[in-house]
Symmetry: C2
Subunit: 190 residues, 2 copies
């Protein structure tokens, strides 16, 4: 638990790079953004970029993960149980996130972004399930998290395709009994 406290320069540099990337993303589409663009905007040397990130795809991954986590307001959920309200909040966070992305142009990278969102969802669901059920059914919990993340993400795609006519909350509500049932099923097993 006693982590060695990362150097302030590291935190600052990562922040500068991420902020610059997000800033540039609102102006250009991803394909048009070069490492040089980012490092110029961030006022850091190009070599330093490679000290922190594998390449620009690695940055995309980490930047989007972070933005998504902020949207999800992780600190709040992590201490709550996975109830009806939590599902609604998480679904709304995803639709908000997708709306914010749609204004920018990330054509050709939808699949990458989709994967990033699902990965993050899976992590969050797994943590919440672990808190409620302990480590006994670990494999089952992991699979449940996988299914929930794909399912919720799929619902958000469906919501986008439906021209967003319904409010996200109304859209997801009908499915919640089914989602909750799956979790209760786990409880019975214990």
């Amino acid at each position: 638990m006693t982590q060695p406290k990362t150097d302030l320069r590291v935190l600052r540099t990562r922040k500068l790079i991420m902020d610059s990337f997000i800033e540039l993303s609102s102006k250009k589409e991803f394909k048009a953004i070069t490492v040089k663009d980012i490092t110029s905007e961030a006022m850091i040397n190009r070599a330093t970029f490679y000290y922190h990130f594998e390449d620009i795809y690695d940055l995309l991954e980490k930047a989007l993960s972070e933005v998504l986590l902020v949207n999800l307001n992780v600190d709040t959920y992590q201490n709550e149980e996975l109830n009806e309200e939590a599902f609604v909040c998480i679904f709304q966070a995803i639709t908000n996130f997708q709306k914010s992305l749609s204004t920018r142009c990330h054509r050709g990278y939808e699949d990458t972004i989709a994967r990033i969102i699902r990965d993050q969802l899976e992590i969050i669901f797994y943590k919440m399930l672990l808190k409620q059920n302990g480590t006994k059914e670990d494999e089952a919990l992991k699979m449940t998290a996988v299914i929930l993340s794909w399912g919720i993400y799929g619902a958000s795609v469906e919501w986008r395709n439906s021209s967003q006519e319904k409010h996200p909350e109304e859209f997801i509500k009908p499915t919640i009994p089914y989602l909750m049932a799956g979790i209760d099923f786990k409880r019975e097993e214990i």
Copy 2:
């Protein structure tokens, strides 16, 4: 002329400090701002602050100078002659700058700020006079720059006290013949 190109880290750090200071200035009055506040906001170590600035007054000086210079758009004026239009532009820049300051609270530091503005004006006037008249009458040029800087600054104080009822341009226009005459006087001497 071949300047040794300052390290990117230096430029970045100075910018972070200055930006943070200006940001904090819009929230607190100068007396309430500590070095710790600035370095926390800028994400730099406190020791680094003292590597770049004597103390917080030194920062105030340099930060205001820079903001003022940006307002004055120095690059434009430096290549122009000191004509009627230049006087109007410079006066407008000062009144703009003063308006931007008045929203913040720098109570008790008006005199310091006044001095900084005059110092910068003096530098600019001297450069422009030097370009027009050469180095022959150097002492006289310096004194002229001093008088112009105090005079123009005084006019801006007068404009502020007049409740800003007139547009700055109209306010300064009547005095321009007098200001220009002083400069022409110098030409006759050559």
